[in-house]
Homo-oligomer: 342 residues x 2
DNA sequence: CTGAAAGCGCTAACAT
DNA sequence: ATGTTAGCGCTTTCAG
């Protein structure tokens, strides 16, 4: 292993001088710097993050608190991998690397916060973790700069897609097509994702904005954010007295199940029932019919989270909640209700 | 920050003794250990990975070389997030944490290998990276223990799903249903994924196993592993002279495009054409009709990669290629060809 | 079983 | 502009 002492010996300068040259400090001669850099390169010098971290107490590490599968999807949730990736790219270009914070280290029990301290992470990104989890809260309530994506923590800045506004628009979009009987298949109403209740809230607001009544029989809460739950929710909805002519579904994955249920119920989409959804997942354009849905800008969420993180790292203030706009992608799952021409 | 010296002072023991107690070493008295551990807990002591790493030259860090989007999928590839997650869980339970290896650190150029050295990673998992990438090769050819998932590097152990065997079975499955005109929509034939050419190879072997001829007009190479390319490939296939009665498609995502193309071509599945695919992605069961496909065990791939990594970390030898079995999931996209009853 | 001494590679604070 | 000194928190000898 090549150290700065090796470089010092060869160049004839002292270790601190070498250090200064390597770190591009100001108080050093131009020629000296060049000489040192040249030798460093020749020797294939690579700094040692441990030594650096030990003295500076900075790690240039961003901790990632992320647990797959909390949403009950059962397999994988593509949304998050894109968010994390966008965040990663932005942070790396600023010289930070991402480390997953583990919940336990080997046999020894070590909390998330302890882990953060152990690795001396400069900041933490929290993605898709239960907001009630105590270990997570210990981190978000600590003095470590934290940003959250998707889940709302009151004490730290959170980046999510806009939920309420598009939900209102979904209802209004269906209204404009002529629908008056509009149901909502909502996501889980728990602390995990704001998406669940915010979209429900938006649905209600949308109804009110068009003087439509809010009816309990038109609202089904899905147990999980997955296709099976969507299927069940639709079946449940159809067992009730009044039938809607259109459905706002809280997510594309759930919509897949809803559409299958429609198929099994002998309901044609969009002739018998219109469906509008949320996410624009990979398969939304490949479903039958292609799904009209709000596209979440996963890239933008990750990028914005990185932006806020950098601000925080520089000791600046950040807004407590940032909303990323979504975009309505009109495909073929919505049409005027039977017998109506708009 | 609480250090071992704080503990030493309070307990009256020396720093090395405290260190030994904390690290559960043998040459220390039981009572001493208990006393030290108790005080450590009271003070909320957390070790410092930098100090530890500096002296031990071990980081308990596993580097992750992973780049999203190399397969031209354009959005996200759920396969990898599951693999990484399973790998992560296994490694964490052994006391390792995962760190993403960046390609450049801030303004300063730093290669992947340099990064590995900088962080002193104990091992590296390579996922879904171009096998021809020089920086990656520098890592795989270094003395750092490396495992690859999905992409085959000759110099290190690689874990992938079985490809050839199931491809053979796919053809035989269709043959058994009565099909004799079986096409293959193959994945890209580049160095990125063995999956592309191995499945093609298996397709050919399957044909030969049933004395069926290998016809160029029944083989279309898709440009990317995505839906659009699948769509194009199917359109291309249907422009040719002879029409197959069944298609083995190299991946579910491509199959979505293929199915859409069938729809646009007025081809009913499975009445007019049977489709068998590979992956069993989230939406395979929600497509119309539900897709018959080989399920990849992403969890098992990640777990096995972790297993090999642990072996490597212990200085043991590992096989150069490990194949994870896949499972045929029969759904409704395959049927006997027109006019045939089996 | 415990402790004294030394050092891992680097940088901060000073002096020159 | 450069060097001296010291020390970050920990573990590894090795002596007792």
């Amino acid at each position: 292993m090549v150290t700065i002492y090796d470089i010092a010996k060869i160049t004839g300068y002292s270790a601190p001088t070498v250090s200064k040259a390597l770190n591009n400090q100001s108080d050093i001669g131009q020629k000296t710097k060049e000489k040192i850099l040249k030798v460093a390169k020749e020797l294939g010098y690579v700094p040692n993050s441990s030594a650096k971290g030990l003295v500076t107490k900075k790690s240039r590490l961003i901790g990632l608190i992320y647990e797959e599968d909390d949403m009950g999807i059962g397999i994988e949730h593509p949304l998050f991998s894109t968010i994390i990736n966008a965040f990663k790219q932005e942070m790396e270009s600023e010289g930070y690397e991402l480390i997953f914070i583990a919940r336990n280290l080997g046999g020894k029990r070590m909390s998330l916060l302890e882990h953060c301290r152990y690795r001396q992470v400069d900041g933490v990104l929290v993605v898709n973790v239960d907001a009630k989890d105590e270990e997570v809260r210990d981190v978000t309530n600590s003095n470590i700069p934290c940003i959250s994506s998707n889940i709302v923590f009151p004490e730290i800045a959170t980046v999510t897609s806009e939920n309420i506004k598009p939900a209102v628009e979904a209802v209004q979009y269906l209204y404009k097509l002529g629908h008056r009987l509009i149901a909502h298949i909502a996501g889980p109403q728990d602390s995990i994702a704001a998406a669940g209740y915010e979209r429900l809230e938006g649905y209600k607001a949308g109804l009110l904005s068009r003087q439509l009544p809010i009816r309990d029989e038109f609202i089904v809460i899905s147990e999980y954010w997955n296709g099976e739950s969507g299927y069940k929710a639709m079946m449940d909805l159809w067992r009730r007295n009044e039938k809607p002519t259109a459905i706002f579904c809280a997510s594309d994955i759930m919509a897949m199940g809803v559409m299958n249920a429609c198929h099994d119920l002998g309901l044609r989409i969009p002739e018998d029932i219109s469906i509008i959804s949320f996410d624009d997942n990979l398969w939304a354009s490949f479903s039958h019919p292609p799904l009209t849905t709000f596209r979440q800008d996963r890239q933008a969420i990750g990028k914005k989270a990185a932006e806020l993180m950098k601000l925080l790292l520089n000791g600046e203030k950040v807004p407590s909640r940032v909303l990323i706009p979504v975009q309505l992608i009109e495909r073929d799952s919505c049409a005027p209700p039977h017998g109506v021409r708009t």
